[in-house]
Every structure is written in C-alpha cells, then in structure tokens.
C-alpha cells in the first residue's frame, strides 16, 4: 500500500465521497463480525498486519487472504476470496487499485456484506461492481482509523476524530 502516492483510477473526490458516508461506515463496523483482509501481509511491520492485528484485538474474526502466505496472525490464510468457506461481512482490501474489479467480483460471488478498500485503493469499476450488487461500499478509508474514530481511542493520541457529542458514552 502506498498511502502518500497519487492513486490511479478515475474516481474524483466528489464521486468518492458517496463511498465514504459516515453512517455507512458506522453501520458496517458495528454490524460486522468476520472480516476477510485481502493482501494481509505476514510481515509485522506492514500496514495490513497492523490493521489485521488491531481488528483481532477488537473482537473481529479476521480471515487472511493472500496467495503468498499460509498463515498470518495465527489464522489460516486463503489464496483467494473464493476459497473462504465462512460467511464474510467485510472484504477489506490492501491491494493495488487495478486488482479491485476482480476482488469486487469475488466479494459479490461469496455473498459478502460490504467492500472496504484502504487508503489509495481507488478503482471506480471495482466500486461500481460491488455497489450494483447491493454491497455497502467504502473506498479510500482505513478501517482501523474509522474503528478507532467511532469505537476506539483515536482521540487519545491527539488525532482529529471530527466527532462532537455531549452524550455520555460507555467505557472506552
């Protein structure tokens, strides 16, 4: 994942924003239990590994999808989404933008609930395939950051969560 790089694909910021809806983000995060992470690296210093580790810590069932690994974060790793035997709530993508249409097609085929791509993984065709099949689609957002924004402790490190509320929340 190259987060600072200019991303490929023809989606402009305006079109992208409909795939970054805060209500959809919250609904997807709160409703999910199983997350297939496509491109999850076994290298503990890679961003995908940070995210997978974080999601596991917060109670999600993480299913690694990566043909180059056999086991990541203590879980069996699958070569493609089509091999995953379980029901998948979120397909989370750490791959080059050009790989997204195929991943989206597979996400539709296995009946996944949503497609969520990380920073820079922007591909209009891929987003459209998932959207037209009825999946919730979130593009160019980090699932760890969004979880920490709404559920977790992102504010403890001085990051701007853009959240304002005077409602007393639960334990954090």
């Amino acid at each position: 994942m190259t987060m600072g790089a200019v991303t490929t694909g023809a989606v402009t910021t305006g079109e992208l924003s409909r795939y970054q809806d805060p209500m959809t983000i919250q609904r997807v995060l709160l409703g999910a239990r199983t997350i297939a992470v496509v491109g999850l690296s076994g290298n503990a210093l890679r961003a995908s590994n940070f995210v997978g580790f974080y999601l596991q810590r917060h109670g999600y069932r993480v299913i690694p999808v990566n043909p180059r690994e056999s086991e990541v974060l203590g879980r069996r790793c699958y070569g493609s989404l089509l091999e995953v035997p379980d029901k998948v709530d979120i397909v989370n993508v750490f791959r080059a933008p050009s790989a997204l249409p195929e991943i989206a097609t597979q996400a539709v085929a296995i009946g996944a609930g949503s497609l969520w791509t990380q920073f820079g993984v922007i591909n209009e065709e891929g987003a459209r395939i998932a959207h037209q099949a009825g999946l919730a689609v979130i593009i160019d957002r980090c699932i760890k950051v969004e979880h920490a924004r709404y559920v977790g402790r992102m504010h403890w490190l001085g990051f701007n969560t853009d959240r304002i509320t005077s409602v007393r929340g639960g334990l954090q």
Partner: protein, 437 residues
C-alpha cells in the same frame, strides 16, 4: 450511530476533543494528573508500545487532558491531528527535528520572533543543518534558495513584531513544486483569524501560550499536521523509510496521513521529552473555549490603537497590517479577513531613550516579555526579546532602536489610549523642544 455534521468554529472551540468522561460523566475536561497508566494485560502493553493499538503508556508521550487540547487545536486548524509540547519553541524544534537529518537545509523567512531566530541560527547549526534566510515578501527569493538538500520552508503568518503577512498560498505553491513542506507559525493569527492549512500550509505551529491560551497563565506549544503532504516523495527517507529508532517501522506507509504525527510523538517527543503538563493543557483549554470572542475584541481594540498611533505626531511606522496605509493591507484582506491580529509595533520619535521613557510612564499596559494575554502588554524589543540579534538582523526583522511592540488586550479601549497618552506626554516633556516639533 452519530449523524455527521460539520460543526461551526465556536462549537468546536468548546467541544472538539472532549466528550463527557465515560467513567464519571464529568463535563469539564478532567485533569489526568498521572505519569502512567495500568495495562489491561501484557498483550495490551505490547500492542501499545508497538503502536498497533491506540493506548496510553506514559505521560511523557501522551496524556488524555493534553490529548483534548491536541484534538481541539487540530479541529480548529482543519488539521488531521496535533502533538502538544512544553513550549512553542519545543514544538518548533520537534517539528523540524522529525523531518531533518544532518546535512539538510531549511529556507526560512527572516522576519521572525527573536527566539525562533536564535533557535534556527544556533541549534540548527549544532545539528549540522544549513539555513537560508529570505525576505518573506519576495516569492522568487524562496524559489531561488532551494537546494538539493532543502527539506522545509518556514514562516510566520504575521511576523513578530514587524507585522509582515505571509503570502501562504504563493509560498506553499513554490514549496510543493519542489516537493517540500511549508511550516507556518500561526501564533499571532490563531485559527480564528487565519487557517494556514486552508491555504496550502502542511504543518502549523503555535505557541499556545499566546492568544490560544489567552490569559498568560501557562507555557505550551503545539504542532498541527494537515495530513496532506506526501512524505513518500523520495525526499524524506527520515519519515518514510524504515526507522532505526522504532524497530524498522515505516511511519508514512504504516500510518498514512497520520505518519508524520506518529513519528513526532512516538520518537521525537519520546526522545526529546519536552511534554506539556496536564494542568497546563487544562488551563490552555479554558482559554480556547472563548477564542473567537476574545479575538474579535482583540482585533477591534488593536485597530483602534493602531489608528490612534497612525495619527500621533510622536509615532511613526505603525506596522499594523490592518491599516489602510500598510503595505500588507491587500494581503491581509486575503488571509486575515476577520482582522489583522493584535500585536504590532511602532517607532517612537527620539529613539531608544524615548522608548524607555514611554514605557516607564505607562501604568495600565504591562511591561513584560509576552504577547497574546487578555491584558495589554508593551515591550521594547531591541533591549529585550530581540536583544541577541545583530543590527542587520534587527533591521531584517523590522526593528529599530525606538521600536515599541504592543500586544493589545481586552480592556476598554479608551483606557488603553489614555495610558498611551501618558507615555507620549512623558516623552514630549523629556525630549528637546526642537525634536518634538
């Protein structure tokens, strides 16, 4: 589920960064006066130290009260986050330290606060970092100062005390063309008057001590990041490559738009140690809650004082950028639409001796080395804040022997003008008659 809403500035200065405490329901921000935090279990502790999870470990690196100040300031500046420091100078040193290596080069405006001039001139040299001063108004000078090893541009939104207004958009354009970040000290404007990130600045710095805190109670500094600069453009391996100071972590790849701030906190703040105290953060937060209200009164009073001085026979060179006669008026109209701040200088007829007599006669303005207090402040820079500067450096910063710097407070403006009258009366009687005419 929370409905998204873009809340207004005044709402955010009260609420951003702090929700009711989940444990106690406390509405005011609690002062978490603790050095350290109990871990849930060994796995949690490891995850916090590995930065795999957002968690509190030790108050030199993070603290919930300080975090409320950080998020609030980031929100007001339209940044992605912030890291607070023990002082404005500590924040500035840390912001640069995070992106510089020995042999690098910085291009800076020459019209800066004297403390910053000292820091750049001496501390950067000790770190083997080269420096080029430029006239901030000369856009081509910024461009021609760029070298192969240049890593940053630096300037102040409103120069201290010369009142230069930085053409942020133009200078950011030059910086970005060369793949460089623009760092802007926004202390004098505050995010209420100007948000440099909206004009293309990449990193914004504050002495929170000044208008943000606003009451002269606490020293503090902060670094706000826009999150928009591409640290992976090949010029910044110090941010983007595997870090030897954090077991090979690649901060920009791993944390994306938050990478610079993560490195600033997890390495620079950790290692240099100039953390803000939770109590100071609490006091500074109380100030920020009324920032917009105070700043509008500050600029009203400053405008009135500047106009009074502009027409006074014993005053010249009033540097308030909001005056019609200021050379910065048009640029101030662009960047400082709500007012041109409340700190400026003027030259008193009679030079150094007259300046000292003037200050001696004042009874309401406080003679001290600070700005941005609710109370009005006055100082003679050539003999105090800018004392270490050579004559050419003083001239470059717009300071003469008779320059008086004012920080206009929130008192009744008639009382402020009455006191300035006392000062001018004293000068008039002490000067030889022919000088006054």
């Amino acid at each position: 589920m929370e409905q998204p809403r873009r809340f207004g500035f005044d709402t955010r200065q009260l609420h951003a960064g702090q929700r009711p405490d989940p444990n106690t329901g406390a509405r005011a921000v609690p002062i978490f006066q603790t050095t350290s935090y109990v871990f849930e279990d060994p796995e949690a502790a490891a995850a916090y130290f590995n930065l795999q999870e957002y968690g509190n470990t030790y108050s030199r690196i993070m603290n919930p009260t300080v975090a409320a100040l950080e998020e609030r300031t980031a929100s007001l500046e339209n940044g992605c986050g912030a890291v607070a420091f023990a002082s404005g100078l500590a924040a500035q040193a840390a912001a640069l330290f995070t992106l510089l290596e020995p042999g690098d080069h910085v291009v800076s405006s020459a019209a800066l606060y004297g403390g910053t001039v000292n820091q750049f001139k001496h501390v950067l040299r000790k770190l083997s970092v080269e420096l080029t001063w430029v006239d901030p108004d000369d856009i081509s000078a910024w461009k021609s100062a760029i070298r192969g090893n240049t890593k940053a541009f630096f300037g102040e939104t409103i120069g201290n005390p010369g009142g230069n207004v930085l053409d942020i958009e133009a200078i950011a354009g030059v910086a970005h063309e060369a793949g460089l970040p623009l760092l802007v000290d926004n202390t004098f404007a505050t995010p209420y008057l100007c948000r440099p990130i909206d004009w293309g600045a990449d990193v914004v710095l504050h002495s929170v001590t000044k208008f943000l805190g606003g009451h002269g109670t606490s020293i503090g500094g902060i670094v706000v990041d826009s999150g928009k600069f591409n640290w992976s453009n090949g010029r910044f391996p110090v941010v983007a490559a595997a870090s030897p100071a954090y077991h090979g972590l690649q901060f920009h790849e791993t944390f994306g738009m938050y990478g610079y701030l993560m490195k600033l906190r997890a390495e620079t703040l950790r290692d240099l140690g100039a953390c803000m105290s939770p109590f100071n953060a609490f006091l500074l937060l109380q100030g920020i809650e009324t920032l917009s209200l105070r700043m509008s009164r500050h600029v009203d009073n400053a405008g009135a004082v500047a106009r009074y001085l502009e027409s006074h026979p014993l005053a010249s060179r009033v540097t308030y950028p909001g005056l019609g006669a200021s050379r910065y008026r048009s640029i101030a109209d662009k960047y400082l639409q709500r007012g041109a701040g409340a700190v400026f200088s003027f030259d008193i007829l009679g030079g150094r001796a007259a300046g000292q007599e003037f200050i001696r006669a004042l009874t309401l303005w406080s003679h001290l080395a600070n700005v941005g207090d609710a109370k009005s402040l006055v100082i003679h820079p050539a003999s105090t804040t800018h004392r270490q500067l050579s004559e050419p450096e003083l001239a470059a910063a717009g300071i003469g022997p008779g320059t008086i710097r004012l920080s206009v407070g929130l008192e009744n403006v008639d009382d402020l003008l009455w006191d300035l009258d006392q000062g001018f009366s004293r000068v008039r009687t002490s000067l030889p008659a022919e000088r006054v005419q």
